[in-house]
């Protein structure tokens, strides 16, 4: 709790805005509540189309996207558009794809990041602490 409080204090200097996109309504709500509790401002989108619209209308510091939304590769497409429009925006892809298809994606090497376009990939179920760590790493880089 101590370190968490300290980190929140550091964060208080600047409120980051997150674009959060997931078509699982419950997962979206839960992530939003947790991110807000951790001091982020959250723009939540229930799908790829909504996320594209919200991204065009808002300044965001970081994006956390689900990979499979209306289309199986919606997250990839969205990520590509974000990187194209504002290359400096860090993007984290969250996916259950490994769990569901056995395919493994990763964004650990430059080559993979180049292909995937995302800065990090996390497998569902995501532990919130892990997501938060990744977000801070990318935001403070």
């Amino acid at each position: 709790m101590q370190t968490q409080g300290k980190r929140e204090q550091e964060m208080a200097e600047r409120t980051y805005t997150v674009l959060l996109a997931d078509d699982d309504e419950d997962f979206l709500t839960q992530m939003k509540v947790q991110l807000e509790a951790a001091g982020f401002e959250v723009i939540a989108a229930g799908g790829q189309a909504e996320a594209e619209k919200l991204f065009a209308a808002h300044e965001v510091d970081i994006a956390v996207l689900d990979l499979m939304m209306e289309h199986a590769d919606g997250g990839f497409a969205l990520c590509y558009h974000i990187k194209k429009a504002r290359p400096g925006t860090p993007v984290i892809l969250v996916t259950a794809v490994t769990n569901e298809t056995g395919l493994e994606f990763d964004a650990a090497t430059d080559e993979e990041r180049n292909w995937v376009k995302a800065d990090a990939m996390l497998a569902k179920p995501v532990r919130f602490e892990q997501l938060r760590r990744e977000m801070h790493r990318l935001l403070e880089a």
Binding site: D23, E25, D26, T29, Q30, A37, G46, G47, P125
Partner: protein, 399 residues
């Protein structure tokens, strides 16, 4: 489809080997009922030892095996093939009138026997029978594999569908446990509502699954007797009355002509419940559900029309598959198992009928169940019986 079967002739008489080769090399066996044409590639061996070496190198599909060989006997070769459970059908060539040898060969795993001397026509008849058996076996194996795949896929999706509400509820409980929104219980109302809704969805999935299993297993005896579909539909309407009233949806039923048919009340209730509850669920507030019962002497049609969200033609195409739920902005707050319509379809087929859909986005949909008024029980498990027969490998099953 054309298939080439590999034949190995093991015989110490060169004339016999040549004769078999000549008879089979340009020969074709037509199996029109299976959509197959079979051709043959013939190899030969002049002793049991050579034969076994050839079988070891690459097992043939069909083995023509002379009983009386100079070294290892034909029976020993047969035993080796049987012992190693090779996928080889053997026709034993025996001396004329040695019926006992023939019977003993069949007992030891041979598919058939041919008595020397035989004519090319007799050879071809025996080979035809064996080829048919091999092709049936392959088909049965393919079907069993496909079934296994479908089953596996079904279970993976099912596991996922059962896991996802647990993850959702667990997530909410942890947020509540951590007091993420503070100490005021009122602030958690939405989380609690969603949790209850997801659990309700899970319960519905389990019930739908039980319905589906009951229909697919065909183990429960169907209780076919005269029923009036109006009564069953009225029960379905009553079941939806509360939900419909809360959302200001009116449900009405019209019947033209006789409404009686022979059916299992439980099955028809599942069918109609699914159609009526969908018509309410995917309707707009203040909408209407119209149920029309029509038909002729043979068939009965139940058309359920709603004034709801409707579907695009692409969405309609995918609709009747297991676990397919149309996912879009309009359906995201409607819970369903994705099993309802696939169950409806299976039931309609059981009544020699079908389910058709007519739909327009934002206008509504009409689902029509077309049912035969009188159906004989269980037309559906015929192909299965075929499969089991052919797969158990008895020679008699082939012809």
């Amino acid at each position: 489809m054309a298939t080439e079967l590999r034949v190995l002739v093991v015989d110490d008489e060169p004339g016999m080997r040549m004769g078999v080769r000549r008879a089979l090399q340009d020969h074709e066996v037509d199996l029109p009922d299976m959509g197959e044409t079979v051709r043959f590639a013939v190899d030969q061996a002049e002793s049991g030892e050579d034969g076994l070496a050839a079988i070891d190198a690459a097992p043939p599909d069909l083995l023509l095996l002379d009983h009386k060989l100079p070294g290892i006997s034909g029976m020993d070769v047969l035993d080796r093939v049987t012992e190693r459970k090779l996928d080889v059908q053997t026709i034993m060539i025996t001396a004329y009138a040695s019926l006992e040898t023939a019977i003993s060969a069949t007992k030891r795993g041979a598919f058939d026997f041919l008595a020397k001397p035989f004519t090319p026509t007799e050879l071809k008849a025996a080979v035809r029978k064996a080829a048919r058996h091999i092709m049936l076996q392959r088909q049965a194996r393919r079907l069993a594999e496909e079934k296994r795949q479908v089953r596996f896929q079904f279970i993976s999706v099912l596991a996922h569908e059962l896991k996802s509400p647990i993850a959702a509820v667990e997530g909410y409980l942890r947020l509540i446990q951590d007091r993420t929104l503070g100490e005021n219980l009122q602030d958690y109302a939405q989380m609690i509502d969603r949790s209850l809704l997801r659990m309700d969805g899970m319960r519905k999935l389990i019930f739908d699954l039980l319905d589906l299993t009951r229909i697919e297993s065909g183990q429960l005896k169907r209780d076919l007797k005269p029923v009036d579909v109006r009564d069953i539909l009225q029960d379905s309407i009553d079941g939806q009355a509360l939900t419909a009233e809360q959302r200001g949806i009116a449900i009405e039923m019209h019947a033209e002509g006789p409404t009686r048919m022979t059916g299992d009340r439980g099955e028809l209730a599942i069918l109609f419940n699914n159609l009526v509850s969908n018509a309410v669920k995917y309707n707009r507030d203040g909408g209407r559900v119209t149920i029309a019962v029509t038909g002729d002497e043979q068939t009965l049609r139940v058309a359920v029309t709603d004034t709801g969200i409707g579907m695009t033609p692409e969405e309609v195409d995918r609709l009747f598959k297991d676990f397919v739920r149309i996912k879009n902005e309009k359906t995201k707050n409607i819970l369903g198992s994705g099993l309802g319509l696939s169950t409806v379809k299976k039931l309609a087929l059981l009544y020699g009928g079908d389910v058709t859909v007519d739909s327009e986005p934002d206008k509504g949909s009409t689902f029509t169940a077309i049912l035969q008024r009188h159906t004989e029980a269980e037309p559906t498990d015929e192909p299965e019986r075929d499969t089991t027969l052919a797969a158990d490998g008895r020679p008699g099953a082939a012809e």
